[in-house]
């Protein structure tokens, strides 16, 4: 018997906290006359997106036992898809505006040529590559945010699960996929501007007159809604019989297979669904970040994703949120140079230099001594029925 999702205490608490947090941030933002700076609102909004992709990671790793080191690639792909539209539409506006000064009205070819030069001049191109065919249509690009990561995950997952690549082999394979993707995007002729990536993504076409402080609020709220929806969806998936089978696969794949379940189908579903969630999170993240380049997709990013989930606590969805929010915000604080240096007399510890070391050591300690992560603390407070 499936209990209603909304009767689960953890879901209710998370949703309530998220709502309260959203209302508080919106109320205190600059746009509403508060003191929270626009950049901080953006950082918080981006953190919500990271929480969403962490939930996807928790679903695929914490519940299904697939340690994917490639989910940040799906995240990046989502960002690229929405970034293409933003960049194309924005450049088109600028080009059309500039053409108004000319005596003759521009021909469509002239506009396309100007956009091509504007966007791809930096990588020595002038033609708009074929993968930008739909870049002028917001709806198609939004569809691609879901389709491109989804189809890549479907094909990759089908190949991998079909031949029963499991455990560390799968992890290495997903890492190889991420590396291949980022190396491919680093090429200038990849059609996505090589290592320059896509930039100026904070300027949303159609919202020119809206100040960034308001745009940041829109994206913050959108991210919060996406996170809430993602959380409910994930909680729904793992709560029913489906969730039990998935957890069974995590704990003993062979046994579940012998019970007659099509293990590959379950894994493929979870893998693809989480890739789609990651893509959506990325599509919300990068307009707030303003720039995306292939370095974002480097294998290390996906490993960090696993680190967040592990520190937050695997196999519990709120753990993923805690881990992602805690570690990424702390990272921003320490590496942003805002943390005070510690003077030891003989040497000064600068956090910009030592934060990574601390993170690495902390991560080893969590893995060794607290496999349940920060989320495990909840177990001390709440006695399980």
């Amino acid at each position: 018997m499936r209990r209603s999702i909304l009767s689960q205490p953890s879901v209710i608490i998370v949703l309530l906290l998220l709502t309260a947090f959203t209302v508080a941030v919106v109320g205190m933002s600059e746009a509403a006359g508060g003191t929270l700076s626009t950049s901080l609102v953006k950082t918080l909004g981006m953190t919500l997106c990271l929480c969403l992709v962490a939930i996807a990671m928790d679903l695929v790793w914490g519940y299904c036992g697939i340690l994917s080191l490639g989910h940040f690639a799906f995240f990046g792909l989502g960002g690229y898809m929405v970034g293409m539209w933003i960049m194309y539409a924005r450049t088109e506006q600028i080009v059309v505006q500039a053409a108004q000064a000319a005596t003759l009205p521009p021909t469509p070819q002239e506009i396309r040529d100007a956009i091509g030069t504007q966007i791809f001049g930096v990588v020595g191109g002038a033609r708009i590559p074929p993968i930008w065919t739909f870049a002028d249509s917001l709806w198609i690009q939004l569809l691609l945010v879901v389709l491109v990561p989804g189809i890549l995950a479907l094909v990759f997952g089908w190949l991998a699960f079909r031949s029963r690549v499991t455990g560390v082999y799968l992890s290495i394979l997903t890492q190889a996929m991420t590396l291949a993707l980022s190396l491919y995007l680093f090429q200038n002729d990849s059609g996505l501007r090589g290592n320059n990536g896509l930039s100026g993504l904070q300027n949303i076409p159609g919202w020119e007159s809206t100040p960034q402080s308001v745009v940041s609020i829109y994206f913050f709220v959108a991210s919060a809604i996406a996170l809430g929806a993602g959380y409910v969806l994930a909680a729904w998936i793992v709560s029913g019989k489906f969730g039990s089978v998935v957890r069974g696969i995590r704990d003993d794949e062979a046994r579940v297979r012998f019970l007659g379940y099509q293990v590959e189908h379950y894994k493929l579903f979870v893998f693809t669904l989480t890739a789609v969630i990651a893509g959506i999170a990325g599509a919300l993240y990068y307009p707030q970040a303003g720039i995306i380049n292939p370095a974002e997709i480097a294998p290390i990013a996906s490993i960090y994703l696993a680190v967040w989930v592990a520190i937050g606590g695997r196999g519990r969805l709120y753990g993923a949120i805690i881990g992602a929010a805690f570690v990424s915000l702390l990272s921003t604080w320490f590496t942003g140079g805002r943390a005070p240096d510690i003077n030891l007399g003989f040497a000064t510890i600068q956090w910009v230099d030592w934060w990574q070391v601390l993170l690495g050591v902390a991560f080893v300690c969590v893995t060794l001594f607290a496999p349940k992560g920060i989320g495990g603390l909840v177990d001390y407070v709440v006695r399980k029925p």
Partner: protein, 672 residues
């Protein structure tokens, strides 16, 4: 004479006394000269020749000097080469009174020169300091003299001189050198030099011989010659000129190819441009010019009755332009069809400047050269791939032990490679001799990383033997901590790890194939490790225990083996090898804190592709990956990023079909 004039011009009224003294001195000198001349013998033939050319030689201008040099060089007179050499060495002096040349040496007092014969150095009397002029050829003239001297030097008894002359000749070949070279070739005894001369003779024959048959023979003799010189000599013979005519090529023209306008080699625009340049077609008015004409004719927002706002397509603009044409407001332009018809009525073709017999031979020879270049290029790629494979093997072999034999994923493996490289760097700070420091660094890197590996195993990995995924994450934590530590200690800029000189060069096999000694050294190192590890694992007590713990730890421990100790040693061994690989990699790569992370994914793939738990598998994996990457680069040499991308995709697909790698363990060993 010139000098006297200078003196007179320099005269100023206020220095009358000094001028008077000067005139007196000149008179004295003139008397002395006449005395000297009287005492001299008649000029020898070579001196006669010099006398004939005295004005040119004295003028010393690069533009006019050539006949003089040629006259001396071609005279066939005894001592002509000596004269040229002395001229080049600025030893010649000319006597102003009669233009005769001498060698001169400063005499007992500083106002007189002792004169000697230009060839024999016989004393020829004396002259005053003002009476003789040193001939100072400038560098241009000296180069001309040197070229002329080549023919004498080619027969010089000193082989070093002959070799130098041959090299000079090849730097600036000319038709005149062909005959002296052939003459010298007949007299040469040194077999090495004879070979070089013979080759130079063929190179010159290809370019300057008049007899066509001889040229063809010389051209064909270069088939299979890989040198740049051969290609540089042959290729210009295939120069073509682009011609266009209505009738097509003449009978006697050696047509390279007929070009179709609109093809890759000749675009329509280029074809039409050519016609315009030959005055065969009117100048075309391009789109931009037409648009400008439209803008000029805007009146009240209309162009020829068409509203400006509607001119937002090419067709609309062209229609408006035709209207302007009809009104006679703008010059007539060609329509696309007219242009196409005009171009179609002409034949475009390229003509060789050389006759057909020559170009045919050159084409055949170049094809043969290209075949052997491609063959050696393939060999070169194969050697490259082999060295890349040995690098991957070195980087992955330590991982093959920890991952393959123990089943432990060590993400910090790359950082052990980095630690090895930094160990090498630190050792070089204390031991300046590169060879000695390398000898110290290799075992030291092993010790350092062995200790680090044992420490990691004791502190972290031991607790996670049954949770491989968590080992992966924990060692990743170690990896980022170590990377940042290295950054804090050594800074972000690359540190040099310099190879000793004897590893510096390259083994050059021919113009296409060359292998640097570092790569050979890494290959040798890889082989040593392969043999060493095979020996340790298969023929020592430690290897036996490692294998037994790998297969069944509990059974092994009941046989009196301590699995803890064995795991610790195995992990240390794998890490230590990573350290040595780090020193080797540091020799050719930049030593930075992220040196290792560049190899970690490739290393894992090497192990996985090869088959876990098998040294031979790692070898096979490294070979496959190395050759694959270079093979892909061969098809697309400009793009190593793409090569890596495709290689990884290939590996992902490969693992679909052989999930356990090339050498899969079978039976009980696979279960462990």
């Amino acid at each position: 004479m010139r000098r006297v004039n200078t003196v007179v011009e320099g005269l100023a009224p206020s220095t009358f006394r000094r001028a008077a003294l000067a005139v007196l001195a000149m008179l004295l000198v003139a008397v002395a000269t006449i005395e000297g001349a009287l005492a001299q013998p008649a000029p020898t033939p070579i001196e006669e020749l010099l006398l004939e050319n005295t004005e040119l030689i004295q003028e010393s201008s690069r533009r006019t000097i050539e006949p003089a040099i040629a006259a001396i060089a071609d005279s066939g007179l005894e001592g002509a080469d000596v004269v040229l050499q002395r001229w080049e060495a600025r030893d010649l002096f000319v006597r102003e009174s009669d233009g005769r040349f001498f060698l001169a040496e400063r005499g007992d007092d500083r106002d007189t020169y002792n004169l000697f014969h230009v060839v024999t150095k016989e004393p020829m009397g004396t002259a005053g300091r003002r009476e003789v002029d040193q001939i100072k050829p400038n560098s241009g003239i000296r180069a001309l003299i040197a070229a002329a001297l080549v023919k004498f030097q080619l027969t010089n008894p000193d082989p070093a001189v002959r070799r130098g002359a041959l090299e000079a000749l090849l730097r600036e070949p000319s038709a005149e050198q062909l005959d002296p070279l052939r003459a010298a070739l007949g007299r040469e005894n040194d077999p090495f030099l004879k070979g070089a001369m013979e080759r130079a003779e063929r190179l010159l024959t290809v370019r300057f011989e008049e007899d066509e048959a001889k040229r063809v023979e010389a051209i064909e003799s270069f088939a299979g010659d890989l040198s740049v010189e051969a290609r540089a000599t042959l290729n210009p013979l295939l120069n073509t000129t682009l011609k266009v005519s209505k009738e097509g090529p003449d009978e006697d023209e050696n047509v390279a190819r007929v070009l179709t306008p609109g093809s890759e080699n000749l675009s329509f625009d280029a074809a039409y441009d050519l016609l315009v340049r030959r005055d065969l077609a009117p100048r075309i008015i391009n789109a931009a010019a037409r648009d400008a004409a439209l803008v000029e004719h805007i009146e009240n927002g209309m162009v020829a009755g068409v509203p400006v706002a509607s001119l937002d397509t090419r067709e609309a603009r062209d229609a408006a332009y035709s209207r302007l044409e009809e009104q006679g407001a703008v010059t007539q332009t060609q329509t696309e069809d007219e242009i196409a018809d005009l171009i179609a009525s002409f034949t475009f073709y390229e003509v060789y400047s050389e006759p057909e017999a020559i170009t045919g031979a050159v084409l055949g020879t170049i094809a043969a050269i290209n075949r052997s270049v491609a063959g050696y290029g393939f060999l070169d790629i194969a050697l490259d791939a082999l060295s890349l494979a040995s690098i991957y093997f070195l980087a992955a072999i330590g991982l093959a032990i920890t991952f393959g034999v123990m089943g432990v994923i060590n993400m910090a493996h790359g950082e052990f490679i980095m630690m090895g490289a930094y160990t090498g760097y630190v050792v070089q700070q204390f031991i300046p001799n590169y060879t000695a420091s390398l000898v110290v660094a290799l075992p030291l890197a092993f010790l350092v990383t062995f200790a680090a590996g044992v420490l990691l195993e004791r502190l972290v990995i031991r607790w996670l033997y049954h949770r491989p995924l968590e080992t992966l994450l924990a060692t990743f934590g170690v990896s980022i901590a170590l990377q940042q530590l290295a950054k804090n200690i050594f800074g972000t800029q690359a540190r040099p790890l310099t190879a000793p000189d004897w590893l510096g060069g390259a083994l050059v096999i021919n113009d296409v194939v060359a292998i640097s000694y570092i790569r050979i050294a890494i290959f040798v190192l890889a082989i040593i490790f392969l043999v060493l590890l095979l020996f340790i694992l298969n023929h020592t007590r430690l290897g036996l225990e490692v294998r037994s713990v790998r297969q069944n730890p509990r059974m092994a421990s009941s046989m009196g083996i301590n699995p803890d100790r064995i795991n610790m040693l195995t992990f240390g061994l794998g890490s230590g090898i990573a350290g040595i690989a780090g020193v080797a990699i540091g020799l050719f790569a930049k030593v930075t804190s992220d040196l290792g992370s560049g190899y970690i994914v490739q290393s894992f793939m090497t192990v996985v592709v090869g088959g876990v738990g098998n040294i031979w598998g790692t070898l096979a994996g490294a070979t496959l990956i190395g050759f694959l990457q270079k093979g892909i680069e061969w098809f697309n040499p400009s793009n190593t990023l793409a090569a890596q991308t495709y290689m990884i995709i290939f590996i992902i697909i490969f693992i679909q079909f052989r999930p356990k790698g090339i050498f899969a363990l079978k039976g009980r060993a696979a279960e462990a």
